[in-house]
Amino acid sequence: MNLSAILLLAAGLFCVGVYGLLTRRNAIGILLSVELMANAVNINLVAFSANSGSPLGQVFALFTMAVTVAEVVVGLAILILLFRSRGGVLVDAAQELKR
């Protein structure tokens, strides 16, 4: 188990997340894909931290976790607002800012 294998795994998870971000039309599916991508980044940070012996990577991974949780909370609040105002959470139906 060397560092390159873990980096490859994280890159694969990130790309799966990018795929989900591009294909999902339901906003909750998009949030799930963003979670996947943030998770891949966390794996990278922890792997580098274990490799170098410095706790800095784990500190950053904890910051990323907290910021992601805050993002999910605000995102779900916006989704509930969107659902209440137009009865659905498909992202291509919300186009008010385009006009």
């Binding site: 989900g20 591009l22 976790m65 009865g87």
Partner: protein, 188 residues
């Protein structure tokens, strides 16, 4: 050898579950597959000698975020269990784009693998939880406090966004009482 085998099992379960997260048409199942991804990530953190992060991952994500996501899925479906199907949009350009992205990143990792320390995880002792706590409370004190401010702001923002508009307004009197009072007024 055993470590490589374990890493292979963890990695394949992670990739399969991640693919199920983005390809499952049912969003509830998608959220549950994401829970599997997060738990397996916690196991990976354990093997990377980060037990504190593994615990935080289990508590925060599998405990908090998955529950929140399930509530979100069920609150935004029109009737429970009916309209949580998720249309998957244009597929082939997205597959092409993410494959190219993975090719670029994988190529970069492969080319720089000589620069990485070859017997990884052996040269330096892994950071333990004590070192993590010291780093948090000495060197990164300001960011730590800023993080708590961020969490507070997110909490208040979510409450303000998701509350009903008439929250806190004085409740109108129930109609029976109102008519009774009106009757009294007309009588007097």
């Amino acid at each position: 050898m055993i470590a490589a085998l374990g890493f292979g099992i963890i990695a394949s379960v992670l990739m399969l579950a991640a693919i199920r997260v983005v390809s499952s048409p049912d969003l509830v199942r998608s959220v549950l597959w994401l829970a599997l991804v997060l738990v397996m990530t916690a196991v990976l953190f354990l093997t990377l000698s980060a037990p504190f992060l593994a615990g935080i991952q289990l508590l925060l994500y599998t405990g908090g975020v998955i529950t929140l996501m399930l509530f979100g899925v069920m609150l935004t479906s029109r009737q429970a269990g009916v309209e949580i199907r998720n249309e998957i949009g244009a597929i082939s350009p997205a597959v092409l784009f993410s494959t190219i992205l993975f090719g670029i990143m994988g190529g970069a990792i492969y080319r720089s693998s000589d620069a990485l320390p070859r017997p990884a995880f052996a040269s330096a002792p892994a950071p333990d939880t004590e070192a993590l706590g010291r780093a948090f409370l000495t060197e990164h004190m300001l960011s730590f406090e800023l993080l708590s401010v961020l969490l507070l702001a997110a909490m208040i923002g979510a409450i303000v966004l998701a509350r009903r508009r008439d929250f806190g307004a004085p409740e109108p009197a129930p109609p029976s009482e109102r008519t009774a009072r009106a009757d009294e007024e007309t009588r007097s």
